[in-house]
Amino acid sequence: MALDLDYSVLTPEVIKTNILPGLYYSLELTFVAMLGGVILGTLIALMRLSSKPWLQRIAATYVDTLRSIPLLMVILWFYLLIPSGFYSMIAGSFGENHRPEFAAVITFTFFEAAYYSEIMRAGIQSVSRGQVYAGYAVGMTYSQCMRLIVLPQAFRNMLPVLLTQTIVLFQDTSLVYAIGAYDFLHGFQTVGQVYNRPNEMVLPAAACYFVLSFSLSMLVRRLQKKIQIIR
């Protein structure tokens, strides 16, 4: 066994300049994609549960298509198809210089929406029909009924599942590797390249991802227990 591992290059200075910006980006990407994905996913779920067949079909096609293609392929497609003018339009020269980063945010929002929509659909279906009838009976419109009665309960029922999906999303953000966005993993790789330690840097990256996702899933588990007791 030729153990020649050297982690002395990971000084606080290096971590601060190379790795933390990557971590921030990964977290931002996760957060924005979660927010956008849940909102868009809820709309898709509502479309899928609507009484209009053509709306149902659009939503089903969207979800089925995105779920049968690997995320990497979707990332490549979005990066290819988003016109270059778009980046400068939304963020000026900053956007122009950070194309992969912006493309990834858009990709993940649309991609995760497909997954969140399935969760929200299950959540909406878990609300009993009587609740909707009660809403209509007191004179609420469809949108009031959804907004004030059904969706709050659906969110609450599905919160642990939505958060579990978000942990999966956080892990999936590492796939922006394909378009070279500067995320957490990329941070470690940059350090590895600059200090000629490319193989060693894989381990701290794995360890950090593990600690982050493991503690997040512990938190979700605790939340799940809490919700269970209340009900």
Binding site: S68, I69, L76, Y177, A206, Y209, F210
Partner: protein, 250 residues
């Protein structure tokens, strides 16, 4: 649009080495069209997925069973395994197998990337399958286990003849979604140099500057693979469904 389709079709039938366009889209010996390259890449995708699935099923069942044994060491090991492989992104796990582990054991430097990809993907998926196997075993009433033991069966016999035949059939439908996932996840193997479909799409796209054509080819084959597995799974599901269980025909 129709112009683009025509150019794309012609490109797929073109040789990857020179300007020859084959009318059959399949070149003879010594040459390769882009379509053939795509099919080769598809083969690698399916191979990685299949081998990884076998590894994942074998390990997943073993680890899943361990997590239900009345032995805290076995349970602890099973849980540690599941958490370890579930909480690290697949691309990072593949990098660990491809770059870090050979650094520790130089013997492994000669192992081809594709073998490491199968192993990494298999272990990654085994954690998910273990989770489902455990859940499947736990859905069986405890009385059945006790009944087996009371009959004088050993622990192993109880699992072999009483618990697993039911549990495995309970988890089968979830395993079908795992096999679809494994095809999708096999795309990550491109990061360690396996020449599967993502690698084809990016490289052929670079070479020809017709990215969309190549992406479309790979995307269609991914969709076909997913669809086929879905249908196959539905068939297997129907054949092995527990009689009397919810959703069974009988």
């Amino acid at each position: 649009m129709s112009d683009w389709l025509k150019r794309s079709a012609e490109l797929m039938c073109k040789s990857t080495s020179d300007e020859t366009v084959y009318s059959s889209c399949f070149a003879g010996k010594g040459d390769l069209t882009y379509l053939q390259w795509l099919f080769h890449a598809w083969g690698w995708t399916l191979l990685v997925a299949l081998v990884a699935l076998v590894i994942a099923l074998l390990l997943g069942v073993v680890i899943g069973v361990m997590r239900t044994l009345p032995n805290k060491w076995a349970v602890g090991f099973g849980e540690a395994w599941t958490e370890l492989f579930r909480n690290i992104p697949i691309i990072v796990q593949l990098f660990v197998w491809y770059r870090f582990i050979p650094e520790l054991f130089p013997v492994l430097k000669d192992v081809p990337a594709i073998a490491l990809a199968c192993l990494g993907l298999g272990l990654f998926t085994s954690a998910r399958i273990a989770q489902q196997v455990k859940a499947g075993i736990n859905t069986i009433p405890t009385g059945q286990r006790y009944a087996g033991l009371a009959m004088g069966m050993t622990q192993a016999q109880t699992y072999r003849y009483v618990l697993l035949p039911v549990a495995l059939r309970v988890v089968l439908p979830t395993l079908t979604s795992e096999s679809m996932n494994i095809i999708k996840n096999s795309s990550v193997a491109y990061a360690i140099g396996v020449t599967e479909m993502i690698s084809f799409a990016t490289q052929a796209g670079e070479e020809t500057s017709m990215h969309a054509t190549m992406y479309l080819g790979a995307t269609i084959l991914y969709a076909i693979s997913a669809f086929t597995i879905n249908r196959l799974a539905a068939l297997v599901d129907k054949k092995t469904r527990l009689p009397g269980a919810l959703g069974s025909a009988r």
